[in-house]
């Protein structure tokens, strides 16, 4: 007669060191093996979409910084791109280049934070410190550019707010060269480590078919071997002028997602380098009406965010405030597959899988 063991109902979060924010996963554990897991979200729900309904478009931009607070430049790019596409506004060349430079640097910073926190979840303490030292350099560049260190509020409909202070472009170029050399230190430190490989290889595996059915996007989808990157497949802004290749994994496990993040940093470095070389002189703010009124209608436009496709759906009645504004938040959508991935795994794998899906709770609960 098998001994009757009782299942343990445990709460991982909402206040837990490695849930990357206030996510709570209610886990039914039999010994160390997870029998059933159910993520509970909503602890950071600030009702951004309700607030946006009585804010003018310029006033919404600071709120988008707080969606995915690790990639606020890209969130700005999403809302600003959506309004410009809806109103067909022209953005000057220099502003477009600045936007691409700033968005790609932000993507690098966000992937660096992923790399640091993922290793911290798996127990290695040092990579986190090295990575934050590099990210500090990017944050300093942004700080000198627009005055803030996390929530930048840098882009405006029709352009960007500030032009670069003198010496900024050269400093950015030096940073790009420095980070290129720094990347192989990370590979040497972590990617070869057998313990790390045993912890991530073959864990949290899913194939392209489930990924597409679960509306995954970004690195989660590309890690399964499916080539879908909005910067290439639905080109927006001036991404079609730069040549970079889309990083695609093979078998969609945690290791592939980890490698995709690191390779994507290298690709973003290439884009920033080209954009810095080609940046023209000229105004940074186009001609835009004083009160922005999006013509009545519905518009959806999406941007390749650091964690997936960040879409903005605007329903407007021609007034200066949107009738309805919905953010398609990649972390919110990518989190749906988690319960299916976790059943049958052990506790340590839960942390590895959750870390690899790379969610930010500001974006999940907007």
């Amino acid at each position: 007669m098998a001994i009757r063991t009782e299942e343990l109902l445990m709460n991982i979060g909402p206040q837990h060191p490695s849930t990357h924010g206030v996510l709570r996963v209610v886990v039914k554990v039999d010994g160390e093996i997870i029998v059933d897991a159910e993520p509970v979200v909503g602890y950071l729900h600030r009702g951004t979409e309700k607030l946006a309904e009585d804010l003018q478009y310029t006033q919404i931009i600071p709120y988008t910084d707080r969606l995915d607070y690790l990639a606020s430049m890209i969130n700005n790019h999403a809302i600003v791109g959506a309004v410009e596409k809806a109103m067909d506004l022209e953005v000057p060349e220099r502003a477009e280049h600045l936007r691409v430079i700033v968005a790609e640097l932000q993507r690098i910073a966000s992937h660096l934070v992923f790399f640091g926190t993922y290793l911290l979840d798996l127990g290695a303490m040092s990579p986190f410190l090295y990575v934050f030292a590099e990210r500090e350099k990017i944050i300093d560049l942004f700080n000198r550019l627009c005055g803030a260190r996390l929530t930048f509020n840098y882009m405006r409909v029709g352009g960007v707010k500030w032009d670069t202070p003198e010496g900024w472009v050269e400093e950015a170029k030096q940073f790009v060269q420095h980070l290129k050399k720094q990347m192989d230190m990370y590979h040497e430190l972590v990617t070869g480590n057998e313990i790390f490989l045993n912890r991530v290889k073959g864990i949290g595996k899913f194939d392209t078919e489930t990924a597409i059915n679960f509306a995954m996007s970004g690195i989660n989808l590309r890690s399964t071997g499916f080539n879908w990157d909005l910067r290439k497949n639905k080109p927006y802004s001036i991404y079609d002028r730069f040549d970079f290749d889309v990083v695609v994994g093979e078998n969609g496990d945690c290791y592939d997602r980890y490698m995709c993040h690191l390779k994507e940093i290298e690709q973003s470095l290439r884009i920033v380098e080209q954009a810095l070389d080609q940046i023209p002189e000229g105004p940074v703010m186009g001609k835009v009406p004083k009160i922005l009124r999006v013509p009545a209608g519905e518009y959806y436009s999406a941007v390749e965010g650091a964690r997936g496709e960040l879409g903005v759906y605007i329903v407007s009645e021609g007034k200066d405030k949107p009738y309805r504004l919905k953010f398609r938040r990649p972390s919110f959508v990518n989190l749906q597959l988690l319960p299916k991935l976790l059943v049958g795994q052990s506790m340590s794998n839960l942390i590895a899988i959750l870390g690899a899906v790379d969610i930010v709770l500001g974006e999940v609960d907007a």
Binding site: P17, S18, L120, S126, A133, I195, N198, M347
Partner: protein
């Protein structure tokens, strides 16, 4: 110094007092060593991560650990309501006292008077270090917290399964030196092959180091108190001085294991021209540095990998090493 020669004196009030005094001196010495081991660890790992480490309290931050210990002393010692009270209170003590008793058997230097040069030194060490598991599991169970329970289960599985390869690798050394008495083992390393046991016992040493890291619950085997998974493992509910007990036990073991490693493989206090105790101090701090160095680099292993690594890899290798030593010993 005749008050410390109690070995050949009959047991009387006076000798007992001397023994107690000797024990207090060794305890004081160990507490000093442990305080500065903690400070040394925070500095080393800090320097490896491009940061400075504690430098605020006292000159160069030297009083930082003393301040921490004082803080833990005056902090409120919370006992959770539903915790199993008596077990909760004695668990840290059970975890701590073997770590301190184990030091009795380790010779710090040739003329060290507090070493009990007992003939069963190695067995004594292994037996006592197994007692800590009870303290850890009891602490995990008594604090009535799910994370602590899982932490306790994990550490029980880990410590038991890594006790075996540790003992076997030490057995190979005992085989070579022919005695269990640590003092004699150090003496044995002086004669015939004129080389420390690290050289003939190289594989044994690797197995020893891996299982020692697992015994001490240090990265990459720090599963019981995996911060990112179990919040703090078996001492989640402990605070104040009881938490300090667990920390003390862990760091005394780090010192004890490094001391054991030096005596067994690196010839204890042996060494040209420098005095014996200085050699011993250098070798022990080299080992301690190695443990901190590994902690700064390695990620954490998974529970099932941990157990299968011990049973499927380490123990067969240890057996192989034992057999090889035996064969070599008979031939030479």
């Amino acid at each position: 110094m005749e008050m410390f020669t109690w070995l050949d004196k009959p047991m009387s009030g006076m000798t007992f007092l001397n023994m107690a005094l000797g024990a207090v001196i060794v305890l004081g010495f160990i507490l000093g060593v442990v305080t500065y081991t903690i400070y040394f660890e925070r500095k080393v790992i800090g320097w490896m991560q491009w940061r400075i480490g504690p430098n605020r309290v006292g000159p160069l931050g030297l009083f930082q650990t003393i301040a921490d210990v004082l803080k833990l002393l005056i902090k409120e010692d919370i006992v959770p309501a539903k915790a199993d009270r008596t077990m909760f209170l004695i668990a840290p003590i059970i975890a701590f006292f073997p770590s301190f008793m184990v030091l009795a058997v380790i010779p710090f230097s040739a003329t060290h008077i507090f070493t009990a040069a007992s003939n069963v030194g190695v067995i004594y060490y292994i037996a006592l270090s197994a007692l800590t598991i009870i303290g850890v599991v009891l602490g995990g169970w008594a604090s009535n917290n799910k994370y602590a329970l899982i932490g306790g289960m994990r550490s029980a599985a880990q410590m038991i399964s890594y006790e075996v390869p540790l003992a076997m690798s030490l057995l190979a050394v005992v085989l070579m030196s022919g005695s269990m008495n640590l003092v004699e083992i150090v003496e044995a390393q002086k004669n015939f092959p004129y080389v420390w046991y690290i050289v003939p016992q190289f594989f044994g040493f690797i197995i020893f180091i891996i299982s020692a890291t697992a015994e001490l619950n240090r990265t990459p085997f720090d599963l019981p108190e995996a911060e990112s998974e179990l919040v703090a493992g078996y001492f989640t509910e402990y605070s104040g001085f009881r938490f300090a007990f667990y920390m003390l036990a862990e760091y005394v073991y780090v010192f004890a294991m490094s001391a054991l490693a030096t005596t067994m493989y690196f010839g204890g206090w042996e060494g040209p021209f420098l005095p014996g105790w200085l050699w011993f101090a250098i070798k022990v701090s080299a080992f301690i540095f190695f443990f901190f160095w590994v902690r700064a680099t390695m990620p954490r292993i998974r529970t099932d990998q941990l157990l299968s690594f011990s049973w499927k890899v380490l123990i067969p290798l240890a057996l192989l090493n034992l057999v090889a030593t035996a064969v070599v010993m008979t031939l030479v």
